[in-house]
């Protein structure tokens, strides 16, 4: 478990570093080390919670409930990071934009899960067919 968590956290930090790097290229004046520090401090607890949700089935044993929790955490992560960067303004235009971004993220994640389930089903079907043929 320790190794898995460590690897997972390193991946999350690596991803944050990449995002930070590209953001610093796009908006160099707005991005500072302090903001990166804040971003990491928000992402890591969310990531740990997501990891534990899957690994220890914190909320439910059912896979789609756990996935829903992770999606909710991811969306909250994005919104909090946006707030820290000062882009979450209380205007109708910004709410609309962020609503679309949140919906888009959720749909993307749900689609990714759906696709991975489909691929796994296909793989298992092929494997079970082969195992059955070996028995006959």
């Amino acid at each position: 478990m320790k190794t898995d968590l460590k690897n997972y956290l390193f991946s999350v930090m690596g991803m944050n570093a990449c995002i930070f790097f590209f953001l610093s290229l796009l908006v160099p004046n707005a991005v500072t080390v302090k903001l990166f520090h804040l971003m990491v401090c928000v992402s890591i607890p969310f990531s740990i919670f997501s990891f534990l949700t899957f690994r220890y089935q914190l909320f439910s044993k059912h896979i789609w409930i756990r996935r829903a929790v992770v999606i909710a955490f991811s969306v909250a992560n994005i919104l909090l990071n946006s707030y820290l960067f000062g882009y979450l303004q209380p205007t109708k235009k910004h709410y609309t934009i962020y609503g679309i971004a949140v919906l888009g993220t959720m749909l993307l994640l749900i689609f990714t899960y759906y696709l991975s389930d489909k691929i796994e089903k296909k793989n298992l079907k092929a494997i079970n067919q082969k195992l059955q043929n070996n028995k006959d």
Partner: protein
């Protein structure tokens, strides 16, 4: 260590006798390696060493630094390490299905996902073992899918 070889054209089956003061890890490794050559695996049970044919083994499992292997009814402690067993079984119908388990694919009936997203393999003796998702590709390769 002294090695003596006696050639005798009259004997039907090759025999290997190991004479030692006591069973050490070194001797165990020698025994394990001899077994691997004959497609059998050396396993300890009740203080005795048995050579079990590969085709009778359902799976190998590493627990607390020790490796055990299971036949239909028995459990033996292997004298070889899991990585060594995996190397030997590269061309056989055995595949690593999780970090600690190598299973005999010809003893496997099916692999099904569970509600909580785990994959469970059912063996021909009815036993169920966990399959890790990251090893599904390896299983596919071994089965030639």
């Amino acid at each position: 260590m002294k090695i003596t070889i006696q050639e005798n054209p009259n004997i039907a089956e090759t025999q290997i006798h190991i004479v030692c003061a006591e069973m050490t890890p070194e001797i165990e490794e020698i025994v394990a390696n001899i077994g691997l050559i004959g497609h059998t695996f050396a396993g300890k049970k009740d203080g005795e060493i048995f050579f079990i044919p590969m085709k009778d083994i359902f799976y190998f499992e590493s627990v607390d630094g020790k490796v055990f292997f299971y036949t239909a009814l028995e459990c033996y402690e292997a004298t070889a390490r899991l990585y060594k067993i995996e190397e030997t079984l590269q061309n056989a119908k055995f595949a690593r299905i999780s970090k600690n388990t190598i299973a005999n694919l010809s003893k496997m009936k099916s692999i099904k996902p569970e509600e909580n997203s785990r994959l469970l393999a059912t063996l021909t003796n009815g036993e169920k073992i966990i399959v890790s998702r990251q090893y599904v590709t390896e299983i596919k390769k071994k089965l030639g899918v």
